[in-house]
Amino acid sequence: MVKTEKLTKNYKVGFLGRKMTALQGLDLEVSGGEVFGFLGPNGAGKTTTIKILMGLIFPTSGKAWIMDRPIGDVKIRQMVGYLPETPYFYDYLTGEEFLHFYGQLLGISSDVRKKRINDLLRLVGLEGAGGLQLRKYSKGMIQRIGIAQALINEPKLIILDEPMSGLDPIGRKEVRDIILGMKDRGVTVFFSTHIIPDVEVICDRVGILNKGKLVSVGKIEDLVGQKVKSVEINVRGLKEGSLSGFAQIGATVTNVAGGALISLPGEEHLGKALDMVRQGGGQVVSVVPVKPSLEEIFIEELKQA
């Protein structure tokens, strides 16, 4: 659905035209029907990537395709929806006029437009606000009408740049539900964000971008599943004297009701720890690997990069 190959974007900044790399050799592939989350801190290159895909800026080098057609082809935008970051729209238009305008640009006939606009206003929860000028809309309402304009052509791919930013928890949940609804209808969703809990709920796959480079990409369960932050061994009947040995392998021991909880800072000393439990006359009740959250992986990837 979306493919990029060594996509690079350099900007010239300052009076002397100093080179600044916003995106460096991005190789990415998003399959049809999936929800892909594009993560990264501010300035990582997320918006640059999205703007290249939408033809708003041109790559310095590399190529990109949407639905197997090069991104320079204006016709592909007939099947793509796009919500810009912190969108500003023509605030002198009413919600309905605004949607009609974009519908006209997409060549949708007047009758079809009217029906779709009613449906979309209902979908994004703005059915009573279609006659209001956008300047009277709140930030959340602007975001929702922005999503409606991105959906007016019933796209096969929708690209959302920070759709949750600046929204309150209820607004975020509503946007999340809209994205999940799109997924149910088979629409491919590509969205950038730095609000990680939302990503964990709705994304099939994520890519983590930092300083213009893709540092990690994959399914959330794979990213989270690959790493074990710590291992917790719950034991019973361990002799008092045998507890001191665990400190030597970096473990911490906490007394809990009916036994002890041994926490190891990784998997490498697990075998040794289990041996020590057996030698100390203890009985293993459970061994639980503790996996990091996506947020912790995200921060760790950024630190390593």
Binding site: Y11, G55, I57, V74, L83, P84, Y88, Y102, Q149
Partner: protein, 254 residues
């Protein structure tokens, strides 16, 4: 269809944002007040009033063309409203053309209202307005079309302030291009002579659009002249819009 949708939206923006109301009201007040000039002048009262009205239409039209022309595209870029529009299946040249046509509609409406104001003033002091006065205003409108395309060209690659400065400079040069050729031709330097000649042919000669004196003094203007100037204006404006589209096509919207 897409060009018209953008043009209509541009027209609607100008109407709803009340951008030109102050200028138009001020122009109408001056046109209306020109009737008072009759009382202050000794002879040729009607001609002076007509002259004043035509000059007002020209001056206010030019102010509208430059200051709305340069902000049309740059405002879209600064406010980022252009992002969602260009993300639709719209070619950049269609966007520019839509903006241009929208502004021409706005200018036509404004010039039309000013023309009606002038017709009423002339009717009060002389009787029904003659066709020459219409052609004089038509020529002013052609000049505005040209200035708008210059403003549009600059606004595709530079800031609002610089666009205004460059457009204003080109307007002044355009109004004086005959003088540039005349004085340049008298220079002792062959380079200056050649340069002034090249400038004369490259830059628009806005004096071609000034038939106000003929209109006021009832000197007839031939149909062939009207057609030639119209064709020249269309060609020059088209060339500038093509150039603007080429530049705009390569622009990054950071």
């Amino acid at each position: 269809m897409k060009v018209l949708a953008i043009a209509f939206n541009t027209f609607r923006e100008t109407i709803r944002e009340k951008i030109l109301y102050n200028l138009l009201i001020f122009a109408l007040v001056i046109i209306g007040a020109s009737i008072l000039l009759q009382e202050l002048t000794f002879a040729q009262q009607v001609k002076i009033v007509k002259d004043m009205c035509l000059a007002s239409i020209s001056i206010f039209g030019i102010i509208m063309a430059i200051f709305v022309g340069i902000t049309l595209v740059s405002r879209e870029i600064e406010r980022k409203s252009i992002y969602a529009t260009l993300a639709k299946p719209v070619h950049r040249y269609q966007f520019l053309l839509g903006k241009y046509v929208g502004l021409l509609i706005i200018l036509a409406v404004n010039v039309g209202v000013m023309f009606l104001g002038m017709a009423m003033v002339v009717y009060v002091i002389e009787g029904p307005i003659g066709p020459l006065m219409f052609w004089a205003v038509y020529f002013t409108f052609l000049e505005l079309c040209l200035i708008t395309s210059i403003a549009l060209l600059f606004s595709t690659f530079t800031t609002t302030t610089l666009s205004a400065t460059f457009t204003l400079a080109l307007f002044v040069i355009g109004r004086m291009s005959g003088d540039i050729k005349y004085f340049g031709g008298r220079s002792s330097s062959a380079f200056v002579r050649k340069a002034s000649e090249v400038l004369y042919y490259i830059l628009p000669n806005l004096q071609n659009y000034n038939i106000r004196a003929q209109a006021v003094y009832n000197e007839p203007v031939g149909l062939d002249y009207i057609l030639w100037v119209t064709a020249g204006c269309l060609l020059y404006s088209a060339a500038l819009i093509v150039l603007a589209s080429i530049i705009f096509q390569r622009r990054d919207f950071k």
